[in-house]
Assembly symmetry: C2
Homo-oligomer: 467 residues x 2
């Protein structure tokens, strides 16, 4: 008798709770697609402000603008978290050409990599040695490299379905190439743009000199994929052709900037903090719409969509627009440092920093039993074509929040077009589709809704319980 | 002992077979992404030929070009299947404006719907009655409609995740609007473009007058979503404003055209036919890259990718580029008719006609036990982020092949951006991403590979077998 009574009640509760979650999530998606604000915010950020390199005036405008917009949402608190950021400036447009014979030149599309030193004022002209990566460079006799420009030309691997894997397999050339080439006496480096497509746009991005003393640093540039193909082809015909590069970028002193933060205080567990965010800084060639204006405006809309869907969070929900992800991660580090000093309990953080494309799912970094709990919610996302729930990776800015006990996550949008735009002049507002952006915001909001509602089990369930 | 021997052997076979399918599919995706031909073919079809309205010179160029390209593949047979198609011509660019007072006009972006009659030579100018659909129109007193232009303005429903559902919920206004408005004495109709986005492009598409005699037919046009909003807003302020429309499209006599067909003869079961296709005709405002140049070149590449991946089909694999899907479906009907006359055994057909975007999966139309067999292959597709296998719907061109015993399927790409381009001037090559297109071709090829290899069980398995 007891058994018979227990089962139906248990099922009723389960069904009614599931129903209500599905209803809330439906409401969230509907609000995002019919009354979302992310696209409008992105329009302003991209078209009225533009590229937001750390330390630039535009970055400060973006801080002011997003703070102002968050204040309009009627959150419990909106504030700026000060953070010192590096200030690198591109200077005049870069200029490069291939010289096939004295006076015979062909222009190539190049740009300085972020953090690079300038070339000598008159530019640098030298023969070119092409390598397919750092490994191949290191195996070379330094006589072959000395006095030359090292050309890193290993392309992104096209048959990888996850384009971020292809990026991961190439980006060491951009990040560490100049350091390694400098050790062998090269006079400059040029790197094939991290782009799966053949086009004319050079893609910038961070690079590092490691421990190379300032006096030994050589300039580092990116070349468009079309021009990389051209240069490579011409080198095969005549290895004695020369490349000319001129750029006058430089690194200035660190300047004060800010993370922009807004929060809704939790009604039941205000000390359990859920962070959702993207990074407000961007590279300077485009307007940073996909990287990462999209993630910022989606994160802002998470709080708005919770409000408009009639959800009163039990836990504290914070949106953080991180400063300086691209060339320093100072914002992410400062946020985690203060969280640690204040002994804040960050149970979950979600970052959107993979473009404003159709969302496909999430990746998670956290203890198995907590991630498994999230995986149980998968069916709630299937009506919205969100199928991809995997362990592994979250986001750069939230990375410093990592503890053995909390869960970090990254939104995973469709990645096929991302590297067509990444860090290039065509990372612009027109490349963002309104619905795709809004679906991302709705997907993030739905996950935050569930985590806020249920929290995490505090102990590992026994296998008995799992049965 | 027998038990112990049996189980490991059974598992070995299962594992080795699964391994080999996974390997072949991996090879197919790799070939598509590193050596696919679909993008190159589409470039020619879109940029060298352009829009391919049935009966147009461009459509005939497209027939010649694709036949030529299929012949280069070394298939067992390539041929043209004659089919008479309707020939509708747009004539001069359409012209429309809102007149707020005599001599005070505001231009609007309009286009004739395919199949529409022209306006009178001097155009038509009349007051406008806005309705949110055919139901609302039918409920009106004919005195309110007589002598006016009926403006169908129900937008696509933005909160539907599957945008084709939103299209399905609106397109009756375009297809049947003029017939219904004509019955009530309207002088013309104008329909809000089937577009989820607000922009300035009118979207054409097929319409029908049903049984309306020629003398009673009224012109039918589409208006851009921005101008639909403008017109609607102005009507609210002043219902007496007038709309002027001028178009001189017309329907000519049917002309001869062709389906383009190529096949690889099956080595074991040549009489079991697997068809894969898209439609070669397109609307004329853009170059028909997504609708349906993409589906054509993907289907062509299916045969090439099978060949290049070392797969020798057991069954006959046919690519069919159907003529006249957009305004008559004559190609699809002719293909099915000949199949029926020849008593061909079409076990499976797959159409790609939803744009060249990132593939998400398939829909299937067929007996449950056969569709269930396909569903068992889902795990093979998951590494390629293909998660969506559902019953319901396939493709218009292959629809006439339907029997109770065979399976028809449609490739389902991401649909969020499709209606931004559908039947409009921006359905152009630059809106197609190479990788997304190639992933679609690989996904189709992988399914065709599996169906070719395993065929279908010929009887319904008993529930016992299913356990």
């Amino acid at each position: 008798m007891k058994y018979h009574l227990f089962i139906p009640l248990f099922f009723l509760v389960l069904v009614s709770s599931a129903q209500s979650d599905a209803d809330y999530i439906k409401k969230i998606y509907k609000n995002a697609l019919t009354d979302g604000h992310s696209y409008e915010w992105l329009d302003y950020l991209s078209n009225e402000i533009g590229g937001r390199l750390s330390g630039s005036l535009n970055a400060e405008y973006a801080v002011e603008y997003t703070k102002f917009e968050l204040e309009k949402l009627g959150l419990d608190r909106v504030w700026l978290q000060p953070v010192m950021v590096p200030k690198w400036v591109r200077g005049n447009p870069e200029f490069g050409y291939i010289e096939t014979a004295p006076g015979k030149t062909i222009s190539v599309n190049i740009c300085a990599l972020g953090g690079s030193v300038s070339t000598p004022a008159q530019g640098v002209k030298a023969e070119v040695i092409e390598v397919n990566g750092i490994q191949e460079l290191k195996a070379l006799d330094s006589n072959l490299v000395k006095g030359k420009i090292v050309f890193f030309n290993r392309p992104m691997q096209a048959d990888l379905i996850h384009t971020f894997e292809a990026y991961g397999g190439c980006v060491d050339q951009r990040y560490n190439g100049a350091e390694e080439a400098g050790k062998l006496g090269a006079v400059a480096t040029i790197v094939r743009s991290m782009n799966l497509r053949l086009d004319d746009l050079p893609h910038t991005g961070a690079m590092s000199y490691g421990k190379t003393p300032v006096s030994k640093r050589i300039s580092s540039s990116a070349i468009s994929t079309n021009d990389a193909e051209k240069l490579s082809g011409m080198l095969k015909i005549d290895p004695s052709i020369k490349l000319f590069i001129k750029q006058n970028c430089r690194q200035l002193k660190d300047v004060l900037s800010y993370n922009v933060i807004g929060e809704i205080k939790g009604s039941e567990f205000p000390n359990e903090i859920i962070t959702v965010g993207g990074h407000l800084d961007s590279w300077d060639l485009g307007d940073g719409s996909h990287d990462d204006g999209a993630g910022c405006v989606q994160s802002m809309d998470v709080l708005r969509l919770l409000q408009n869907s009639g959800i009163k969070p039990k836990r504290t929900i914070r949106v953080v627009l991180f400063m300086n992800e691209e060339n320093g991660l100072r914002g992410g580090k400062a946020y985690a440092k203060e969280a640690s000093l204040k002994e804040e309990n960050h149970i979950f953080a979600l970052e959107s920093d993979s473009g404003g494309f159709t969302p496909r799912g999430f990746t998670f970094d956290g203890p198995d039993y907590k991630v498994d709990q999230i995986f149980e919610w998968k069916p709630l996302f299937e009506p919205y074509l969100i199928h991809y729930f995997k362990k592994g990776g979250s986001g750069a800015d939230i990375g410093p929040l990592k503890k053995s006990t909390n869960v970090l996550a990254g939104l995973r949008p469709d990645s096929q077009r991302y590297f067509d735009h990444h860090h290039a002049a065509n990372d612009t507002f027109d490349a963002v589709n309104k619905r795709e952006l809004e679906l991302g915001a709705a997907t993030m909001t739905s996950l935050v809704y569930l985590i806020d509602k249920y929290g995490f089990k505090s102990i590992v369930p026994s296998t008995k319980l799992k049965d």
